[in-house]
Symmetry: C5
């Protein structure tokens, strides 16, 4: 299952205008334009067995709703709203939540619908060249013994969890759907760190660039990074709240034994927020350095100009004086007039240079 | 029902001075100057029928107050305070609320008057050329089975809801006045997104303009957009609170089944707030780029001046020297004096150019 | 009762130093220096009658304390501390409150003294030329059926209320002292709007000035306006809290029927706060524009200098070359040497101009 | 008791390093280096008598602990930790509090130790030339009928209270130790106002300086004042909290009748906070003006240079042309060539001047 | 036990990437790369005895868990995850906490695990040349009568506590593991002050540097110090919260008698926060001064250039005029033409200088 997201080329339908005036619950896809078929994959496991298949017909997944085994139904693609609607009907998902699932760009949030929990969040998946931080919407429906996930694209970051399930590593096979949801959340948050580290690397590179001779494109880069941190902050702040709410939720769907793990993820989100704030501070400091570099360079240029001009302008005046054509200019006829002028000019030049030295302009 | 608002030309009476010292509850119109007659339109519907008419006499609407069908009384124009006062008397609206209805520019708020709820908010309706964001005050009185809306202008954004009522689309005909109020609120909030998108487009255009050679008018544009985001923020922050209060209201007027829909609108307002904040950050970043562009261009200009001056000023001094008219200037009589001077000058020029190269001024 | 405040000339004793080390409750006047006699005016009314007189002796007002009619005792001038002290004794006002009454510059606050309520606030009364916003302290003692107000100056903004009382307009004669207090508060807050509008006008004028050729005095004006908004904010923020506290007060002195009116005033104060914040944002934006205008103008000046210098400095060098007096300068003797030099110079000038055109410096 | 603090010369031991690793409760003096002997003075009074003496032996003060009269034990100097320790043992003060008493630089705080209350705060005592705001730590132990105060230096600001006690002015002799504590707090806060007024005066002077020709030292002064406001804010914010906590304290040590007085002091601290914030805003505005003045002056300088250069550089080129020595230069032999050149040059100069006029550079 | 940390050279494994996708509770070391063996040291003491040894086998420490004496098990090095895991098993530490222990870079936090408390924080240990503030993670497990500490490096700041234990100074031997934990926390916080003082010294040095002729490296230094304060703030803010939570903890593990000591440490953290904020303000003010210094120096340079150019450019023009070779130039033949030109030029020069004097450019 390779990651084949050519994210730089993909387009988003993010015009909300398409939706204005529709009835609540009307399913309209807003998000990445996709052409592939929607793929549904199912993992069904308990401590002793683990099945994995791609259902041909959505009816196949109905029994999973009430089976005692844990079922993970993953849907790659939300552009085919009929599939979302069908699953919604089969699993009794509220129409407003169906609407949120197909409408990418939701603010991360959690809704407790008593017989299932809805979580929507932004999954960061690397950085494309233009937007630095690229995201995709992930929706989760946590039921008593099933978990349904909706992603926008094929290919994802969940392979490590799939591997842990199939190879029965750790405790994942022994516990319920809430732990599976936690495991996926943990991966999502870990990928935030990955993106953060890349941002950190870029900031470090920029810090060195900025000391050298840097043109206006550096400021552009700083602003791109600033915007990337902004995007991250806007993704992670509400996510932090989501996880905090899950922890405090009074619901059978989240078991008490899972909550310490959620606390762990929560601590990670706080660390991300901290780092993002630090990055923002660093970037602001870099703008200051950049601006003062501009002024410094201007100062340098001006000093060179001033030194040259201040030394030569008086000298040019002097030689101009003796270029005048007056009939009666006694100096012109002196024997050592020419030499005297040179000496005077050297003294003036020396005086100027000394003045600049004293002022520490060299 | 076309939208014929020549908003750019319309004037507002927004001088509160007219009101100073009047008794509380005295109705004075403050808002858009209008000349058309106030038009009242009525929708009266339930699951089985739907009537729509324009009453000739306000007495016609009295029976709607207690009829079991849902009635939507829409008033286009608040400049005729007598009509507002008459409706207020007929439906038992508190004088202070009547005062707020005719006084455009209210901060969005909700008042629970136990037998009806008063909501006032700002409706954004597009952007006129001068103020970027143009608004109009919308007041709603939510009763047990009626909804009264007061707008400032003819023509509005509610046609999609009217259509859903007349064509019996969705669940709107099956539910009460609170759902109708929600449907209108939803439309208002959707139009905030529309305005946001236009702002976003303008910001994108500006971002490209700012990189090129941009004059002071760009900063002006940025400031206009900043002010537009400010207006939006000031409209949407209290609106967010209004909807949050409606959700938490302990009142029979808002049914429990409607509250999930209000939650949905609430989420939208938070998204708007988020986007507005992002826009503000982006615009601040653009001011920084603009300012540094100014400095950069100044630097460029100064470098050109300095290079030209620094190369030619010493040379001009040299040629000045040999323009002097001293009687005894041995160099003037040398066979290759002239050529020698040229060579010296070329060396100096070359040295200067190398110096600038080394400093990376090219 | 005309408004004869030559506020620009009046001086304040605002040196707290005079008070240091005194016993609590020692009455020391701090505030506007006044020379007129303190004037006490009394309104005594109920639904059927209305008396108005100026008592010669303060003993005259004693019976008002327990009479069932509503009495409004207005004191113009707090510089005569003995009058304040006498009234304080007659009406049982706590010494610390007496101290606050004569000490102008109090932060707006409300104190519930169980048998009366003390409110102190800042009354804005127009703008004098120096400080933009001019204020005067207003103290109110709300008793069960009396209201005592203390102002610093003669002449005030309360004439509309006096008129409503004498002419029996609205409900003011039918209700108690708390409604009278509300009516005065409402007027005070309305005058905040008046001052805000004037500030708004000045900001609009400044906005146009700033686009043209503006000198450093524009920044001074912006700073004056900024300080005015600061003064307003500092007056209105605590006032907002005062009114909010009055609304929530569990006291017989504020009747339940008066509270909706207080809510109305409260909404106004929030609107003022909003507008003040907007003004501050606008003024900050204007500082930015002003600063960038400075840079722009500098850029313009530099470009002119650079163009002139860059075109003529090389040419001046060339003519200098042929002004040299070398014996052997073949060009000087060519037939078309002079013409050739002109052609070379024109080519150089044209090249320079083209270069500047390409760089869009024109 | 004159105030003999040569504060500018005094040194502080403010290196916490001396304390690292010591056991909690180990008394180490951190604060002003003092050489005088610690002086203990005692006031012992009730409604009928008032004694004042300096005990030779600390055992003398033991009976004061349980006597029904009010006793104020004032200790000038905390550098002799043994005296503090001895008093601590005699009056049962917790070792951690003893540690705080001798360790100047505590953040203002209140500790309720059930049988006594500990208050520590910063006393501002004027402004020395270097730090603008000079402070000294004041510790108070409020017991049932005694008050112990610890100051760092001899000489203080409490003489007005001493006078009120000895001369039996006001109610101070009739009430308890908590009122005495209030009276001292009130004086401390009044002195904050005194310092504020001096800061205000300096700011006013600076405001005028800044408009004239001001060098970099003005910015230095602004920064000193900024730091002074910072110091004040850091002293007064926690002090505000201390007094607020005292007011809400459920303890027999603070009587209900004293609480209105504490409320009064509390209001003063809020006013101080307000004023400090205003000062900070004013100082920030002044930095802006200063910066723009710099730019303005640069603009002026550049305009002068540009005007001179732009007028004379082309003229110098023209005279250079006719200084060339070509054999065939027809103009040189024209009868009115010289006059014609002058006319051309005057036209050019006039053109330039007109251009600058049009651009409003004069 | 000398402090041998060559921190400047040590590398950190701070790539979270290594951890992505692992099962919760999988122990992966993230932190300082270390090569030394992990050293475990044990202190076991009560009021009467004190043993200290380095166990060869971890089984040796098992009896300490339930012995009535206080045991302090200190682990130097977290890179050997097996040792941490073994101790974790022996003392029943939750796998998620084991994970946090070996994963340096945790945000300071406290976890109450009912039979033990987990605290993790950042220990500041001086300043290396590159990062100004250098930290190391300290984890504490507080049990009923044992304390386990995990550090990243050999050598630490705890020797004063070790000494107090072995020499039975103060009350440390008489009290429990919670007091020991407090004593260590107190030392950690005291070292924050030490680092703060060093930062303060550097800021003072910078303040003097900045007034003189300072290049761009000063801004760099300011930014380094800013980042250091940022690091401190990010360490101390959550630490403050940790200690506040410990104080309020309802647990037998923290005795009531220890809580006043925690309050004391808490006050220290608030003071640190205060000082850090002051430092940030001071550094911001210094950036302002630096920037204005740049402008000032530019102004100086420009004035020198302008004065020289403005004086000599007109004079050079004049001498150019009389360098022209027109046949008919009457002035050239005047007897005192040359002298007259000199006089004219001196007058012009004098006029210029007077003009600059008037403008206060000297």
């Amino acid at each position: 299952m390779t990651d084949r997201r050519p994210s730089g080329q993909q387009k988003r339908v993010n015009r909300i205008t398409r939706k204005v005036g529709l009835d609540a619950g009307a399913l309209i896809h807003v998000g990445l334009l996709q052409e592939h078929n929607v793929r549904v994959t199912v993992f069904d496991y308990d401590g002793t067995h683990c099945d994995q298949w791609q259902p041909q017909d959505l009816e196949e997944i109905v029994p999973l709703k009430d089976s005692p085994t844990v079922s993970w139904i993953n849907v790659d693609g939300i552009h085919d709203v009929q599939i979302v609607e069908r699953i919604g009907q089969l699993f009794g998902i509220h129409p407003l939540i169906q609407e949120d699932i197909v409408h990418a760009g939701q603010r991360p949030k959690m809704e407790d619908m008593s017989d299932h929990i809805y979580i929507v969040l932004k999954m960061l998946e690397g950085q494309d060249s233009e937007r630095e931080v690229d995201w995709e919407q992930l929706s989760m429906i946590i039921g008593p013994n099933f978990l349904i996930t909706f992603q926008e694209r094929e290919g994802d970051i969940f392979d490590p969890v799939r591997q842990r399930i199939t190879e029965d590593k750790g405790k994942i096979r022994k516990v319920g759907a809430d732990y599976l949801a936690y495991a996926l959340l943990d991966l999502v948050v870990d990928h935030y760190f990955v993106v953060l580290e890349r941002l950190g690397d870029k900031i470090e590179v920029l810090e060195e660039e900025i000391i050298g001779q840097s043109g206006p494109e550096v400021l552009n880069k700083i602003n791109h990074l600033k915007r990337a941190t902004l995007t991250m902050r806007r993704s992670v702040w509400p996510l932090r709240e989501v996880i905090s709410n899950m922890q405090r939720l009074e619901s059978d769907l989240i078991k008490e034994t899972t909550k310490p793990y959620l606390k762990d993820v929560y601590d990670h989100t706080i660390q991300i927020v901290d780092t993002v704030e630090t990055f923002r501070d660093m970037l602001s400091g870099m703008v200051e350095i950049y601006m003062s570099n501009l002024s410094n360079r201007m100062n340098e240029v001006m000093k060179v100009l001033t030194m040259i001009a201040t030394i030569f302008i008086p000298l040019t005046f002097i030689v101009g004086v003796y270029g005048m054509n007056f009939q009666y200019m006694p100096e012109l006829h002196w024997r050592y007039g020419y030499a005297a002028v040179w000496i005077v000019m050297l003294i003036i030049a020396y005086g100027m240079v000394s003045y600049f030295r004293k002022r520490k302009w060299f």
